[in-house]
């Protein structure tokens, strides 16, 4: 399991270095809408965590509930 994890990391890093031939198509000065607070996947972690817990307690499914990224891309 651990070896698989390291492999995934290595693969991702490899992909990362290979990406330099394509230019990022959304420029940092175009990120106004993405930076809007309503565009965040989880506005209130305290509320989302509670609801995730409600569903998990009643369902057989678990996992893959997180989300991130987007945003202002500043700094």
């Amino acid at each position: 399991m651990r070896i698989r994890g390291l492999f995934v990391l290595g693969a991702l890093a490899f992909v990362a270095t290979g990406c330099s031939s394509i230019e990022p198509w959304v420029k940092p000065y175009d990120r106004e809408n993405l930076a809007d607070p309503i565009m965040v996947f989880t506005r209130a972690p305290i509320s989302q965590d509670f609801l995730d817990h409600v569903f998990e307690s009643r369902e057989g499914s678990r996992g893959a509930t997180g989300g991130g990224g987007g945003g202002c891309g500043c700094n």
């Binding site: 990391l9 890093a13 420029k27 106004e32």
Partner: protein, 170 residues
């Protein structure tokens, strides 16, 4: 949690860190600063060539960008301090609509007195290859780009002061 698991996590994170290139805040760019002319705040217009002979600090910013907003009062201080020595600050706002920027500037407790140009179709941002928000470029008296600074973190203003002072001496 077993020692093996802990060491596994540490190894995984260390491996990840090895692939992570630290974000460099400033690089020494070279070459003549691309010329541009934009309409500015207060109905005026701004042309980079009008500042030849002065040290110019061009700051690309947007009202939706928090580090940009944090940086603004510090840029105003730098402008006031070095203006008599042949320095000018030029803010380039990159938003397609100017109303949000104008509204924010109007509400500042410490008003901004240096010129603010509006790059509504991102022409100048593309020209200067802006890759981060904010981005700061310092142009010397001869019109060459000497410093490119990406982002803003507390304390960066001190770096700016040192760089401006050395360019003013030229």
């Amino acid at each position: 949690m077993s020692a093996r698991t802990v060491s596994g996590i540490v190894k995984a994170l260390a491996l990840a860190a090895a692939f992570v290139l630290p974000a460099f805040a400033a690089t020494t760019a070279t070459g003549p600063a691309p010329a541009f002319k934009l309409s500015a705040r207060g109905g005026k217009s701004v042309d980079l060539t009008q500042f030849k002979g002065q040290v110019v600090m061009i700051n690309f910013w947007a009202s939706w960008c928090k580090p940009c907003r944090d940086e603004m009062p510090l840029l105003e201080d730098i402008y006031k301090k070095y203006k008599p020595m042949g320095f000018t600050m030029l803010g380039v706002n990159v938003e397609p609509e100017t109303k949000d920027a104008e509204a924010w500037l109007g509400k500042l407790p410490k008003p901004v007195t240096f010129p603010i140009a509006f790059d509504v179709d991102s022409k100048v941002s593309k020209l200067y290859k802006v890759e981060t928000m904010p981005s700061t470029v310092i142009v010397d008296r001869k019109g060459n780009v000497r410093v490119l600074h990406r982002g803003y973190k507390t304390g960066d203003e001190n770096v700016y002061l040192t760089q401006i002072r050395s360019l003013l001496k030229e």
